[in-house]
Symmetry: C2
Subunit: 377 residues, 2 copies
């Protein structure tokens, strides 16, 4: 275990920790002068440094995969813990906040060397940049070889990029509800979301930390995203055309305009709720930074064809899984990834009507796939 860290981490987790990894060169040129990587961890690293598992969070996810010793459930609660699929009696589990994020890792809301938040000065970063930063963190932690790197959605993109960038350090790699490169449609939806934030007058070009935050824009971005995280059939069966309780949809109250209540459909109220929840926990600049990093996702960039790029991962054991009803990361994209991987990789299907978010809601199914593939007792 790395020196700087050995004193800080023991058994039990759910506590946010951080380590300095120094200056980080960036794919688009230049560098970030001083990067802090925040992470949570559970369990204990062994002497060989090869019993570690990296879990990669999604776009707006935090490092809080699992409750651990904390009070709050994690976003994959039940997957990580003593006796769980990823058994913390055997494995040292790490979840690091993505570069550019707002859960402790250096991002736009971090304080730059002049004592002020980066804001508009935060550079463009890529998925690959974050993976390089995560590799530095692994160095600091003394992790030689990941038993597995596991991620869903953007976390899947980061997991795949780990395998391609550091195949000698990744024994197993799980790519769930993700693909080899962000598609035109994923880029298009991402553009609408970043624009929604940038067009909020409170955004102020990204330098809003002294004033009101661009909450309307971030809320709109979340609404656009959230629709795509769900399936048409799920929304229809939950909400249909029902009016929100006590409201009337055939009403001139719609003219109340912004934040109108009194005339909403249930599904509108639901989206309002999703927007409010995210706005309360996420930084708008980080939303843009990470969304644009995800737009950049292309495991083959600078590495030839997709098959050529993935040839380097021949020693890595892959688990590829898709949510059956996903219409943001279509199962066909998982098929294409699996087909391009070396060897014979099957695509597992997570049977869910919910859409993309199935990678989060069907945690038991994800766990069972991981148990069968990577964590047999």
């Amino acid at each position: 275990m790395g020196e700087e860290f050995s004193a800080a981490v023991g058994r039990g987790g759910g506590v946010l920790r951080s380590l300095e990894i120094g200056a980080l060169p960036l794919e688009a040129g230049g560098s970030l002068p001083s990067v802090t990587m925040a992470f949570e961890c559970w369990g204990t690293l062994n002497e060989a440094g090869d019993n570690a598992v990296l879990i990669q969070h999604a776009l707006t996810g935090s490092t809080h995969v699992s409750r651990g010793d904390s009070e709050e459930d994690g976003w994959w609660e039940g997957l990580v813990g003593p006796g769980d699929v990823i058994d913390t009696n055997k494995y040292f589990v790490v979840c690091a906040n993505m570069l550019g994020g707002c859960y402790g890792t250096t991002g736009p809301s971090s304080i730059a060397s002049d004592g002020k938040p980066y804001g508009s000065r935060f550079p463009f970063v890529t998925i690959r940049d974050s993976v390089h930063a995560e590799a530095r963190l692994a160095d600091k932690l003394g992790i030689k070889l990941w038993h597995a790197v596991v991620g869903g959605s953007m976390g899947g993109a980061r997991a795949l990029e780990w395998a391609a960038s550091y195949p000698e350090r990744v024994r197993r790699c799980a790519v769930v509800a993700a693909c080899a490169a962000s598609t035109a449609e994923q880029i298009a939806f991402a553009q609408t979301q970043t624009l929604a934030i940038r067009q909020d007058p409170n955004f102020a070009g990204g330098d809003y930390y002294d004033g009101a935050a661009p909450t309307s824009g971030l809320g709109l971005a979340r609404r656009i995203a959230h629709i795509n995280y769900r399936s048409e059939t799920e929304m229809e069966s939950r909400f249909g055309r029902q009016a929100q309780s006590g409201e009337d949809t055939i009403s001139h109250d719609r003219l109340a305009a912004l934040g109108a209540s009194g005339s909403r459909y249930q599904v509108e109220s639901y989206l309002d709720h999703q927007a409010r929840k995210l706005v309360g926990r996420f930084d708008a600049n980080s939303y843009i930074a990470i969304t644009e990093a995800l737009m950049s996702h292309d495991v083959s960039r600078g590495r030839g064809t997709l098959s050529q790029a993935l040839a380097a991962t021949a020693s890595v054991e892959f688990l590829v899984a898709a949510v059956s009803s996903d219409r943001l990361y279509f199962p066909a994209q998982s098929d294409a990834l699996a087909a391009a991987l070396p060897g014979d990789v099957a695509v597992h299907h997570i049977d869910s009507a919910i859409g993309h978010d199935g990678f989060l809601t069907e945690v038991a199914v994800v766990g069972e796939l991981l148990r069968e593939s990577f964590f047999t007792v």
Copy 2:
């Protein structure tokens, strides 16, 4: 032919005309005091008043279906004209601008009795309100019985509502790429679009006609909509991950923020173009008014179950068609509509990879379906 109008219309069309239809009671209560209906028409109405065809435009469509005597191609060019499928030597063809629109019919940008634009004072209107207004226009024009009412997308919703509201006045009804009632998902995407406009600081609650228009908001609304008008596969095959010519997507230029150029993907540039085009021709308040009218679309509202609501249309001959790759108005929604219609109604499939917009781009296929069903020589 109605008196007020007989002098104005002869052969040849493509010229915008208008008629006053008086005060219009609204479904949400109250009334619009004085309504002007704008329309284009082609051909000549017969003495019996039963050779007329109503073509209903989509959300941002105009009355300009066909070039006629004008200089500009229509949005269903080739369908309407002497010797065409809808032969103007035989039929009197009308396309009316929807209530709330900005192509001549009374809408938010119209001048109210106090000499100022309605703006925020324009009331909430429904698809049904527009159909009632269109029925008044038909009265004025002397049209007793439509040979056919034909529409795609929102035009399909209006066509269907015509058949349910005035079955004795509709001989045939074509509902293309549309459904019986807007779904939760359609409402959800609509909310993001109206919010995009309302959150534009230039929107000023809808009273922006004295100042700058909310073009950024309207442009964002169009981007969100346009993605849904196309299919994932169409966008991927056209644009993939290509950078716009001369631009570099892995670049800190993204920080140039709003309207950034220099670092766009081709699909972003494409959406920018679509946004600019709409902003140049459409009023933001009308976009909200018509979008919310479409959210209200439910042919069964106040009429019992869907089958009960449609029982009244037993005398109407239906053509129901869906675009195979449509993911905004799924073919299954056309199936559900057809199943609920009286009698045995087949669903025709417009085979296209383009998505919802196939109802516009596949004009020859739409024409052939109309010829076979409604316009046999």
